[in-house]
């Protein structure tokens, strides 16, 4: 039968779409019911119709919630204006509601500001306690703290040879010239950073002084200690590091914990002594897996092509930059693995990038300023993971945790951290994978 009536896909689709005249419908129905080839083709066509609809449905990116939010705000604004008018009218009529008085509004504003500030202040404590996500034995934790102090000391000595040693050590023998140049540039950046941090720390708190004193006692030899890494993770570390001595293991002189005046947009002038002191305090007071200690990476300039392109677009349009890339980070999974007997992941390469994006003033009218943390995962070794993005900005250390599984392990993980209005500068950041 099918030889006499070869399967016509177009006809079947037209039939499924209800676009055939009645007589053709009867004929096709009969063919589908009696001829196995037609039946199979019809079944396949049904599947294609459904699947194509589903695929096209994935294209719909209609920001319903956002629209509602914006609309809600606009409604509120409109309502506010109407209320004002009503209030004025009432005022003219001699009846004025007491809570609409200007002084009452001012008082309410002050209360709001104080309330928000309190919440933000309380959150800092929460964030720091979140760092306890890293489950470590006491001894390694002590080591880590000691190592951190060592690093602080190394950092606070801008004239020390540590960064140079680092450069000499981390440059692979067969590294291409471009990579060498990058490392050189990073090392120069690290020295500048170290200098500024040293200046800051010299003038502030006794935190660094305490750290420095402790360091001298426990510091292992800076160069001779071999890092305890497997080969895979070493590759990962190399791939993941953004330079500037972002070494693994927190070995003295191998990296710079604090960052500062950066070359990235939005960094530099905003970095205050207070922020650095706070950062030092946070780092010193947090138990960190020694294998994680090297993950902190200083903020780098924007290297990502997408953001560079966006910046160029901003320039072309003569618009204020809507979003600004101000940070980068390197990490590796092996370093992030907990100090438990959990078997390490098969592969250990993950590159992370933490960015903060701030809204433009124009956007701020429509939405609260927010900080967005993106972790760009380029290679993921495990099926199900939790990712922890941590960063230090001018105000506090912050943590965002997000999970991914299966197919979602590739691409950009995004954690939107609300109410970070005060975030002004990213000092350091890292993304960890928690198998």
């Amino acid at each position: 039968m099918s030889q006499a009536n070869p399967v016509n896909e177009g006809l079947i689709h037209a039939w499924l779409d209800g676009q055939l005249p009645a007589e053709d419908v009867t004929r096709i129905e009969h063919l589908v019911a009696t001829d196995s080839e037609w039946g199979a083709a019809a079944a396949e066509a049904r599947g294609l119709v459904a699947a194509s609809s589903r695929v096209l449905g994935a294209l719909d990116d209609v920001p319903k919630v956002g629209q509602e939010k914006t609309r809600g705000r606009e409604d509120e604004k409109t309502r506010g204006r109407e209320d004002e008018k009503t209030s004025e009218r009432r005022g003219k009529g001699g009846v004025r509601v007491w809570w609409r008085a200007p002084w009452m509004r001012a008082a309410a504003g002050i209360v709001l500001v104080v309330g928000v500030s309190s919440v933000v202040w309380m959150r800092r404590g929460d964030v720091v306690s979140d760092a306890a996500l890293l489950k470590v034995d006491d001894a390694p934790a002590q080591d880590a703290i000691a190592e951190k102090r060592v690093e602080s000391t190394a950092v606070s000595s801008p004239d020390s040879v540590a960064p140079r040693t680092l450069r000499a050590q981390t440059a692979a023998p067969g590294a291409p010239p471009a990579e060498m140049r990058q490392r050189e540039a990073d090392a120069v950046g690290a020295r500048e950073i170290a200098k500024s941090v040293a200046e800051e720390r010299k003038s502030t708190s006794d935190t660094s002084a305490r750290g420095g004193a402790a360091v001298v006692a426990v510091a292992p030899p800076p160069v001779t200690t071999p890092p305890v890494v497997d080969q895979g993770s070493a590759i990962a570390s190399t791939a993941g590091r953004s330079g500037a001595g972002g070494g693994r293991g927190g070995r003295p002189g191998r990296r710079v914990d604090s960052v500062a005046p950066g070359s990235g947009a939005g960094i530099g002038s905003g970095v205050t002594a207070n922020a650095l002191a706070l950062e030092a305090k946070l780092l010193d007071s947090t138990s960190v897996d020694p294998r994680l200690a090297g993950c902190w990476a200083p903020v780098q300039t924007a290297r990502q092509e997408g953001f560079a392109r966006r910046d160029r677009a901003d320039e072309q349009l003569a618009l204020p930059p809507l979003m600004r890339f101000i940070g980068a980070v390197a990490t590796d999974v092996a370093a992030a693995a907990p100090a438990s007997p959990v078997p390490p992941p098969r592969s250990t390469a993950v590159q992370g990038a933490v960015q903060t994006r701030q809204a433009s003033p124009a956007m701020a009218e429509a939405a609260l300023m927010r900080t967005v943390v993106n972790a760009t995962v380029t290679r993921i070794p495990v099926r199900d993971s939790a990712f922890v993005a941590e960063w230090i900005d001018a105000n506090a250390r912050r943590v965002a945790t997000f999970t991914a599984s299966g197919d979602t392990l590739r691409g950009t993980l995004q954690a939107v951290v609300g109410d970070s209005m005060q975030t002004s500068a990213l000092l350091a950041a890292r993304v960890r994978c928690m198998p």
């Binding site: 896909e9 177009g10 294209l59 939107v416």
Partner: protein
């Protein structure tokens, strides 16, 4: 209800959806839709409104694609801004973004005529309207749609498998 309002109410939503799927940019789609309605209002009589509107919109995006890159850049920034305003859960956002990217890649694989026919059909245009809008024979619309659907699904599946394969290699 005057003619303007009737046209807008009847065709705005499907047209914007069609254009958004076609362009991948909601703001741009809204802009093209508005221009389409403006042109429709200038017409004294439209025999087949829906086919005419979709045909004009399709022609407009074809023209627009050739010019005004700066405006597109601006709109994409605004679109990103809008997207940022609704804060979906991170994993949900990621999955959606990935699915959307795959769907976009799959759609881009199709020839323009197949793509337009498929998107118009998704918006409920019948075969006569699609034929009129795209200057096709009515009898060939079914074949066009069958081919478009098959290619779209195959490209989408291939994209998924490619990603899975790359993932395995990475692992």
């Amino acid at each position: 209800m005057d003619d303007t309002e009737r046209l807008f109410r009847t065709y705005h939503a499907p047209l914007v959806r069609y254009l958004t799927r076609r362009l991948g940019d909601r703001d741009w789609a809204e802009e093209v839709a508005q221009e389409t309605f403006l042109r429709a209002l200038r017409q004294s009589n439209l025999t087949n409104e829906r086919a005419w509107i979709f045909a004009v919109a399709t022609n407009l995006i074809r023209d627009e694609a050739r010019k005004d890159a700066r405006r597109r850049a601006h709109l994409s920034l605004l679109a990103a801004e809008t997207r940022d305003a609704y804060e979906p859960a991170p994993d949900v956002a990621l999955e959606r973004a990935q699915e959307q990217a795959k769907a976009r890649r799959a759609l881009d694989v199709l020839p323009e005529r197949d793509r337009n026919a498929l998107l118009m059909r998704e918006e409920g245009l019948d075969y006569h309207e699609i034929a009129e809008a795209l200057d096709l024979a009515v009898g060939s619309v079914g074949t066009t749609l069958a081919r478009a659907r098959r290619r779209l699904v195959e490209a989408f599946e291939a994209s998924k498998h490619k990603d899975a394969g790359a993932h395995d290699v990475a692992g």
